[in-house]
Amino acid sequence: MSGHDARPEPDAHDSASTTAGVGAQLSPSRRDLMRTSASAAAAGLVAPAVLGSHAAHSSQSTAPSSETLSGEIEIELSINGAKQRLKVEPRTTLLDALRNRANPPLTGSKLVCDRGNCGACSMIVGGKLVYGCLQLAVDARGKEVRTVEGLQRGDELSAVQRAFCEKDASMCGFCTPGFVMAITHCLENHPKADLERIKAACAGNLCRCGTQPHVFEAALSVAKGGAQ
């Protein structure tokens, strides 16, 4: 048998999966667009033409439009309350834009699976908890992007962050920013969340070290006002 790099492409999994608590508002078609641009580049055509979306300017609608974006383009994003212009490709994910193209780089959100499995890149975009690896940077235009770097005020940690420290809710810490964002989003929307809701809120976040029991304790301590 022979093949042209017959690496199994897990296409079957490429549809944007959302997990309990993570409201990733991404239609499968956008992931397809990303793939189209990548394979165009692979064929040596390095001018990927991608259908973008005017809807990106409105925080509600996701209806497709006729905007065409290609090559490296400059966009303006609102990140943690500050406007920033950055150069991205249409296929650049929001996560990659923040980690690799923002200045200074915002590396708090982690790249772990790059396919919406693990929640390490959880961030709040337009008020919704999303996976940064499943969002295109161009689609974040006009929306407020909140990352883990934006939670503290000056040197003061947020209540959720303090609770994570107090309850030893991180070990290696690589998943921690994602859990912090998921719990923050949960408690902003459900200030008196119970254990069941908290578990559901971070069901889309993986942790290999096994910090979950302490994450639950941290979240509950804030929900009950313990870390205020």
């Binding site: 042209h4 990659d96 770097e149």
Partner: protein, 758 residues
């Protein structure tokens, strides 16, 4: 009050007290023999060594401790919760190129064509390195590496490589490997030399004569470390004699040496950095082929190169825990004692040899025999993974014990105690049993019936680990004139809490709060440290930190004694102040430090055998609910009791134990590497198909630290991952009678064991 002026002529410490550790010990030389742990390839071996006993620092009675043995907040908690902790993945250097690897997609192949012309035409292409141009013999073996201006361009370059290949004959599982005409995986053949223990004839005779006997085959799959931070490095060489290398590694001083070799530089001219690292679990000791590729690209491009594996590549080339196939027989007498045990076991370590702990695991047996050998396949080599070989041996042994106990109609808890002399396990088993409600449980000597739709069961298992340390760490504790205290050593923190106790130990010694001490770790610019594997770090490092802190205190006392009008041994450091034991003038820490010379005070520390111990015990109980209609298992409660010697940080220790149980839960119910039978393509190289436990599957968890033995600190992080898998499998059987002898205990296996599907 302003800082005190230094007393003329009295402010300078005795130089001898600032000298390295051994000088202090030399004053009152005595030796003692201690058990220690030596780690070879991440697997611990117990050795007895004679060590010099300094007679100096002691941990002191636990009741007197103010910092250690308490619930501490990690000193790096704030940077971790705010995204400011910099991992290798996060390193950004001006001019940095982004690199990707091309891996062999199948178990073994012959390269037919490897053409980079289209790759070179991709916008942003910077360079490539060919790693293997002819043939490969394991899944995931690197073929080539490419570097580009952006991560997107690197991906484009990778896809533009024209790579054609022909599959070579390969063996992918034990059965195929052992066939007489099987393709040979290596020149050493497909089977390693068996390690044999005991007398087979005697063991089989003992089993034959026993009133209760069971023969069964237990299978455990290959599972992955699944570190959330993938393997990789950022190699920063821009020409010249020196380089800086960041690597997600468990051995800062190890990979830096490897990097120097690839770069052709002197080891001393390469700085290795591991500021934070996102999990290793035994898989991140060397620089790895990914690190070498990054170094080669950096050398070729004369610019920094960032090469971190993608998740898919991580699954395919970055290690795994070996699987096992264990054919075992055992006999039990009427009193529940194991009288005979015989096992022939194969380890599945891919092209490596794998690991499997001795059988039977922990429990004593009058006549036992085992023959253990590795069976090689064309899959990537297993690596050390948290307690290498122990969970596999635990699963087989604990399953057999339960099967025998049921055959004999004996209580599962009592049977275990009948085969353990060490009373520590007795008390631990009883405690975890109480925690999960064993003594109120309706079926303790026979399994429940599957006639109920939802069945609840309880299972037990135990663990042990060495966890002793050795002389490898060089620690410095510095006290500055402004009152700052810095404790430094090159060691890395894998998430276990090393950084925190590097600060906490001097805080305790100097009577300061934890916040008064800064820990600096993770750099070859600092004192040497061993690799973190086999739970050797704490017992190797903590004594050296203690010794450095003690030396600093001694030296500081020499400075302060004249100010306080007492002898140096009578200077008391407590509650952020210093005072003579007899009372009198009291100086705040800042005031005291102002008496130091401009350069402050620096003291070194080295390993002290008497400040560590060896050998931990653990017991776990699992309570599960089995849905006999769907076969789905829900773990309701896991309880662990564990001794750790002196606990340096109770919060972090509990976290480590929780983590062991969560990983064991994944091992028991979900995790298994799946490769296709024809070519060896991994079918689940991502987290939606390789399932880790998530929050909805985390049961109630109870951690009990066993404080009864007042020993010095012992490495403990391996032990908690060992028993959980066996305990859960046993609990499933106890619930409904479904004995699952092959992990993971997936719903189909539960239903098959209940006879509901074939």
């Amino acid at each position: 009050m302003s800082a005190l002026p230094p007393f003329p002529g009295a402010g300078y410490p005795d130089a001898s007290l600032l000298a390295p550790a051994q000088d202090v010990g030399a004053k009152q030389k005595r030796t003692r023999k201690v058990k220690s742990t030596k780690v070879v390839d991440g697997i611990e071996q117990e050795v007895e060594i004679e060590v010099e006993d300094s007679g100096g620092p002691e941990w002191g009675p636990r009741e007197s401790l103010k910092v250690l043995d308490k619930e501490l907040q990690r000193v790096d908690g704030p940077v971790k919760v705010s995204g400011r902790a910099t991992y290798t993945h996060d390193v950004r250097v001006p001019g940095m190129a982004w690199a990707r690897l091309l891996l062999a997609p199948v178990a073994s192949l012959k390269v037919a064509r490897l053409d980079f012309s289209a790759c070179k035409a991709v916008k942003g292409y910077l360079g490539h390195e060919v790693i293997e141009a002819e043939e490969t013999r394991w899944l995931g073996q690197p073929i080539a590496a490419v570097a580009a201006e952006t991560s997107e361009a690197a991906e484009d370059c990778l896809r533009a490589i024209v790579f054609e290949w022909e599959a070579r004959p390969s063996v992918l599982d034990r059965e195929a490997a052992l066939k007489p005409d099987a393709p040979q995986v290596s020149r050493r053949g497909n089977q390693g030399k068996p390690a044999v223990r005991g007398d087979e004839a005697k063991a089989r005779a003992a089993i034959e004569g026993a009133p209760h006997k069971v023969s069964a085959t237990y299978v455990v799959p290959v599972v992955h470390h699944a570190c959330l931070e993938t393997h990789g490095a950022v190699v920063d060489w821009r020409g010249g004699e020196e380089a800086v290398v960041h690597c997600s590694s468990q051995h800062t001083f190890g990979f830096a040496g490897d990097a120097a070799e690839v770069l052709g530089l002197k080891k001393g001219n390469v700085v290795g950095l591991v500021e934070h690292m996102g999990g290793g679990f035994g898989s991140k000791f060397g620089f790895g082929q990914e690190g070498e590729a990054a170094a080669r690209l950096s050398k070729a491009l004369r610019r920094p190169v960032h090469l971190m594996l993608t998740r898919k590549d991580e699954f395919r080339m970055a290690g795994n825990r070996s699987g096992s196939h264990i054919e075992a027989s055992a006999g039990m007498d009427a009193a529940g004692r194991l009288v005979g045990f015989a096992a022939r076991a194969h380890k599945h370590g891919g092209i490596g040899d794998g690991s499997l702990s001795g059988l039977p695991y922990i429990y004593k047996c009058a006549e036992s025999w085992s023959e253990i050998s590795g069976v090689r396949t064309n899959l990537d080599a297993s690596r050390a993974m948290r307690a290498p070989g122990h969970p596999q041996a635990s699963f087989a042994t604990e399953s057999l014990i339960d099967e025998l106990a049921y055959a004999a109609g004996l209580d599962l808890l009592e049977v275990r105690k009948a085969n353990l002399d060490d009373q520590v396990w007795h008390r631990q088993l009883e405690r975890v049993a109480r925690e999960v409600g064993w003594f109120e449980h309706p079926h303790r000597a026979r399994p429940g019936s599957a006639k109920d739709e939802l069945c609840v069961g309880i299972g037990f298992a135990i663990s042990r680990w060495g966890g002793g340390g050795g002389p490898s760490c060089e620690v410095e504790v510095a006290i500055e004139r402004d009152g700052s205290v810095v404790s430094s050593v090159g060691s890395q923190d894998l998430g276990t809490g090393v950084r925190t106790y590097v600060a906490a130990i001097p805080a305790e010694e100097l009577g300061l709060p934890l916040s008064a001490v800064v820990a600096r770790i993770g750099s070859t610019r600092l004192g040497n440290a061993n690799g973190s594997g086999g739970s050797v770090t704490t017992a190797s490092l903590a004594p050296a930190v203690k010794h450095a802190a003690w030396n600093a205190r001694q030296a500081f006392a020499e400075v302060l004694a004249p100010l306080l009008g007492c002898q140096p041994p009578d200077v008391v450091f407590a509650d952020g102040a210093v005072q003579a034991a007899s009372g009198g003038r009291k100086l705040s820490w800042k005031q005291a430090c102002a008496a130091l010379p401009e350069a402050g005070l620096r003291a070194k520390g080295a390993w002290q055998a008497h400040l560590q111990a060896n050998g931990v015990h653990g017991a776990q109980a699992a309570k599960v609910e089995v849905d006999t209609l769907t076969g789905r298992v829900r773990v309701l409660h896991m309880a662990c009791m564990q001794d750790v010697g002196l606990c340096l940080n109770r919060a972090a220790t509990r976290s480590q134990i929780n983590g062991g149980m969560v990983q064991a839960l994944g091992y028991a119910l979900f995790e298994e590497r799946v490769v296709d039978a024809a070519l060896g393509i991994q079918l689940n190289p991502c987290f939606e198909d390789y399932k880790l436990p998530h929050s909805l599957e985390i049961p109630k968890m109870t951690v009990v630290l066993d404080d009864e033995d007042r020993r010095a600190p012992i490495g403990m992080s391996e032990a908690p991952i060992v028993p959980g898998g066996a305990a859960i499998a046993n609990a499933i059987h106890n619930a409904c009678g479904a004995r699952i002898r092959s992990l993971p205990c997936t719903p189909d296996k539960v239903l098959a064991a209940l006879g509901k599907v074939s």
